[in-house]
Amino acid sequence: MMEGATADPRLEPAALAREARELARTWREPEGFIGWFSRIDHKTIGVRFIVTAFCFFMLAGLLAAAMRLQLAQPRNTILGPDLYNQIFTMHGITMMFLFAVPVVLGFGIYFVPLMIGARAIAFPRLLAFAYWMFLFSGIFLYVMFLLNVGPDRGWFSYVPLAGPEYGIGKRADVWAQLVSFTETSGLSVSVCLIVTIFKLRAPGMALNRIPLFVWAELVTAFMVAASMPSVMVASGTLMMDRLVGTQFYNQAEGGDPILWQHLFWFFAHPEVYIIFLPAQGIVSMIIATFTGRPVFGYLAMVLSLVATAFIGFGVWVHHMFTTGLPQFGTSFFTAASIMIVVPSGVQIFCWIATLWSGRVRFATPLLYALGFFMVFIMGGLTGVMLAAVPLDAQVHDTFFVVAHFHYVLIGGSVFPLLGGVHYWFPKIAGRMLSERLGKIAFWPLLIGFNMTFFPQHILGLMGMPRRVYTYPVEMQWGALNLLSSLGALTMFAALTVYLVNVLVSLRRGAVATENPWGASSLEWSTSSPPPPYNFHPAPTVTGREPLWEPDVAERPVVIGLSADKRDVLVTQLMDAEPDHRKEFPEPTVWPFLTAVAVGGLYIGSIFTPWAVVWGAIPTTIGLIGWAWPRKGNQPRHLEREIAHRHRAAAEHA
């Protein structure tokens, strides 16, 4: 048995304080104008992702408000059909690509290294690049929208409507390149997360001791890696059909529009689980903290996450039930779509068991978790209904589907996110959010949400189709639409209160301690907000709930990492035993410059295929500048090592 743990003079308080000062110097983020563009600390990037994503959430919310205003009455004239088409497309694109995925990845970026006891995230420059790509994609999309070139073919951009024959102008190209941008960003982040979670965990954090939120982010990152390539193929081939005359989706020349649907939905179904699983992880952390006990059934919880992810890759055809595919084939996807409910159900029962057997504190984060239960379960039930082909055939492309996915997305993701913001705000900002304002925002949000979307089930069953800018009086859909729009107004008000809470508390909230909630995971063992080097000394873990263990003060810590360079401990995958040390890169502006180059390439290629060729030049320069080491860093001991190996090889020869 390898002990290796002894009391050490480097752990005397004076020595620790001296090292902390040195660490602060080594790990500090650059200041100044260029410095702002050079930052690579995962906490900085995480906050940027989260804040930017919520800005897009607000923009998409305004678009939704516009739609609800237009639909509140029959034959309304606030928005014309062309603008309405752009608005519902922009709403969908913004929510799915610019809010939901970046925000859950953003929480992962900020909290995964902290929860696993690491000093940094793997490949921090790649992460910075990913943020700039995300930001540029959103700016690009909205500039085009303001220039009346916003995509208007739905967030899924079906061909042939978006193809060269019917998709006139550049709108569909904007869609395709937005996808390229955001997928590049998402794929980059997923690499960072996978490698961080596998290789940078604190000693002792074996696979069976990883926090549930970290498991959720790991599984999500794998889903991103396996699904986003499909939509990149889709958007790439769409661009080619439109720009250089390929015939992928032209039936007259051997192409097939159904291929688009397969490629798109093979990505887009896992996409919704990408959005949902991290939120489940947030719910787990919140429930554990506010019941004072670990989540019941850890193994079942982990396997549920993994099972949902895998099965999520086998259900995509349920978005295509009305395309004329043979029933014998689609029935497999019905079976899978029903089975995928079971792991989520298992998670819900585990959470209920946790609540049942714990001491519940009804703080605002827990309210959001409970709201999640109610809303998500309802959405899940309509999902099981939709999995049946005969039912789906009746309600496909009606508001019933709109109701379903808003229940699962808002219930399953937005509620946990809002709870997560409340829960983690003290750690990020060093201040507490107001509980009073939190509760004042929560209840109208829950009620307003149900007011907005429950009537839409009925509207769908009454036959109201999706994506229509208005409807006639005779259909008698007016009353329910008005109710829905009033609900939207209520949600808007509630979210405004939430925003006010955040803005006011940033300045005047109560100062937060290290662990205001008495939680058990490692992010709560460091200051609020954490120092740039996260932890000092670097922690180890001996169980699943580090801060709830009786021996917290006596748990071994890691010493021997250099404080004068960015020294990070790399551990072994299964049991997180220390393996080697790696020097992590310094901040640099090259990721930003490379993102500008790649962005230019993507945007230029909307107008001419040559942009790919010309844009490759600055991109290559950017990548070389990024990777090239700074002068004078060659370690002396490396020369000795090389010479030693050379001599040893010569002796053996």
């Binding site: 048995m1 390898m2 002990e3 290796g4 743990a5 604190a202 000693p203 002792g204 074996a206 696979l207 069976n208 001791r209 850890y298 193994l299 079942a300 982990v302 396997l303 993994v306 099972a307 895998f310 099965i311 890759f313 086998g314 043979p326 029933q327 014998f328 084939g329 029935s331 497999f332 019905t334 079976a335 899978a336 029903i338 089975m339 180890t540 873990v541 001996t542 169980g543 699943r544 263990e549 009786p550 021996d551 748990r555 071994p556 072994q572 299964m574 049991d575 997180a576 035993e577 220390p578 393996d579």
Partner: protein
């Protein structure tokens, strides 16, 4: 100094392989079966037979059951997942993790056997060219 599990000894290696197989065989066999049977559905309509689809299901079931069995055998005979506190670098830490992975492999295999059986239902109930 590299940890002892970064270069596993031969009996450790089979244990490791068995445990990972238990975790991955289920989903991979199921996804493969889904694709295969989806393609076979078109063939079945042409030849008015489905025996090859049942065969594919049976093959998938055997693969997953074998992997689950291997994961069970790899578990040192004791699959409790008691979470007791142990030193970060101790053998107990490794043992707990190993047992936990075995149990996970067994449970996952059982779950995917259920999912595969769910997929068999339409082949039994529906007719080929529906």
């Amino acid at each position: 100094m590299p940890s002892s599990t970064s270069r596993p000894v031969s009996h450790e290696r089979w244990r490791l392989a068995a445990v990972w197989a238990g975790l991955l065989a289920g989903p991979l066999a199921w996804l493969t079966l889904l694709e295969v049977n989806y393609l076979f559905a078109y063939v079945a309509c042409e030849v008015q037979r489905t025996w090859f689809m049942h065969l594919a299901t049976a093959a998938a079931l055997i693969v997953v059951a074998a992997a689950g069995f291997a994961a069970w055998r790899a578990s040192h005979g004791d699959m409790t997942t008691d979470e007791t506190l142990t030193h970060p670098l101790s053998d107990e830490t490794r043992m707990q993790r190993s047992r936990w992975m075995s149990l996970a492999g067994v449970a996952f295999s059982i779950w995917f056997i259920v999912v595969i059986l769910a997929m068999e239902v339409p082949i039994v109930v529906l007719k080929e060219c529906q």
